[in-house]
């Protein structure tokens, strides 16, 4: 139902376009008048001409049997001629090359003295580790097992180190945590707290801990002040 509707709508839309045929399947192409009436006769005439032409040409006997041989012979001959052509080109260039060979027989590069005497040794030295590697491989344990063992041992060693470091770190953290908390409290607050709530001997400890911050042994009142206070009080 819906498909039908869509189709109808589509055709309605096309119908609205000026110059477009009502049926979308109609092509805009046209043919000359009487074209289809004369087409059959034309085709028959062409066929008759082709048949006459085929009948009028003849090939020598066994022409097609020998054709391939003659084509190959021709290819060979042309290749030979091409080679000759290249050779001639080379001959044409040769006087320059011949002269050049006389004038420049070698490249002019030289090697250091006794270079080739030591080159063999250098190469053998470069090859030697490879040689050793190959020999070692022959007498070694099965490679897979060795690799598995070493891998297992590596994991075990790594685990031991991790546990050890963890335990050490935990105790370090515990011992340092009280000091760390104290560090966060300003020194003056600690001093004033201890001045109010301190016990005998704290003063000496504080002085040692906070050198230069407080001086607990210093007398707070001068002797004169004390005498004046006593005179006034008594």
């Amino acid at each position: 139902m819906s498909t039908m509707d869509n189709k109808r709508n589509y055709q309605d839309d096309l119908a609205g376009i000026k110059g477009l045929p009502l049926n979308p399947k109609d092509t805009p192409f046209i043919v000359p008048s009487d074209y289809f009436n004369t087409l059959e006769a034309k085709i028959k005439r062409r066929v008759a001409i082709m048949s006459d032409a085929e009948a009028s040409f003849e090939v020598p006997k066994q022409y097609f049997e020998s054709l391939s041989d003659r084509i190959f012979a021709r290819i060979e001959n042309e290749s030979y001629q091409n080679d000759e052509f290249v050779s001639q080109e080379e001959v044409k260039e040769k006087p320059f090359i011949i002269e050049l060979r006389k004038e420049v027989p070698t490249s002019g590069f030289v090697a250091p003295p006794q270079y080739f005497d030591v080159l063999s040794e250098k190469i053998k030295a470069a090859v030697d580790p490879l040689n050793l590697e190959e020999n070692t491989r022959e007498i070694s344990f099965p490679r897979k097992k060795k690799r598995y063992m070493s891998l297992w041992m590596r994991y075990a060693a790594a685990a031991c180190i991790t546990i050890g470091l963890g335990v050490y770190g935990f105790f370090q953290y515990q011992s340092n945590s009280f000091e760390r908390k104290l560090k966060d409290i300003p020194e003056n607050e600690i001093v004033s707290y201890l001045q109010y709530y301190g016990e005998t001997g704290d003063a000496a400890l504080l002085e040692a801990q906070f050198d230069g911050v407080v001086q607990m042994n210093q007398p707070t009142f001068s002797e004169k002040d004390i005498e004046a206070y006593l005179d006034y009080s008594i």
Binding site: E93, G108, S120, I123
Partner: protein, 181 residues
């Protein structure tokens, strides 16, 4: 010593070192000069020749006997040289599309171990203006006296293409000599 005997000795572990010594004795100079003419600098050639023979040591056991040993050696050496030269170009910020080896000109004139006369220097300078392939083919034909078939085996290029490369190289070198008389 025949190559086949060297290969046979190399296949036996007991005679492997002996075979390698024979191989070095027979081919180290040829390979050195082939490499040297391509990379110009002696120290670079020295490193590359060692690399080539290390590769030979690693792979000779897998060498197919139907190929010629020296063409195989030349192929390894040529590939090593081309890889090295491409890396050198990249290090010097030269485009890989720039096919000539003109960046090696300084090495030719300032590097040690070049004892050539004026004509030899001119030929080397002319060669450095050629595209890499033409320089390679010319060197192998002119200095190593290799045949086109042999060069074709080494480079994996058709004989016709090699002839064309050599022909063009000769033409350009002749032109260079005419221009620099």
């Amino acid at each position: 010593m025949e190559d086949s005997i060297i290969i046979e000795k190399f296949s036996n572990e007991r005679t492997r070192n002996e075979a390698f010594n024979l191989l070095l004795k027979k081919y180290q100079q040829r390979i050195y000069w082939h490499v040297r003419r391509l990379v110009v600098d002696h120290d670079d050639a020295d490193d590359l020749v060692q690399d080539v023979f290390v590769k030979v040591w690693k792979n000779l056991a897998n060498f197919r006997a139907d190929a010629q040993l020296y063409t195989w050696l030349y192929r390894i050496a040529t590939n090593e040289c081309i890889t090295f030269l491409n890396k050198k170009k990249q290090r010097q910020n030269i485009s890989l599309d720039d096919d000539s080896a003109s960046y090696l000109s300084d090495t030719l004139t300032t590097g040690s171990y070049f004892n050539g006369n004026q004509a030899q220097l001119k030929l080397q300078q002319a060669l450095l203006t050629l595209p890499e392939k033409q320089r390679l083919v010319f060197n192998m034909k002119y200095f190593d006296d290799l045949k086109y078939d042999e060069i074709s085996d080494i480079l994996g290029t058709s004989v016709g293409a090699l002839k064309a490369s050599y022909h063009l190289a000769v033409k350009k070198i002749e032109q260079f000599f005419n221009d620099h008389d």
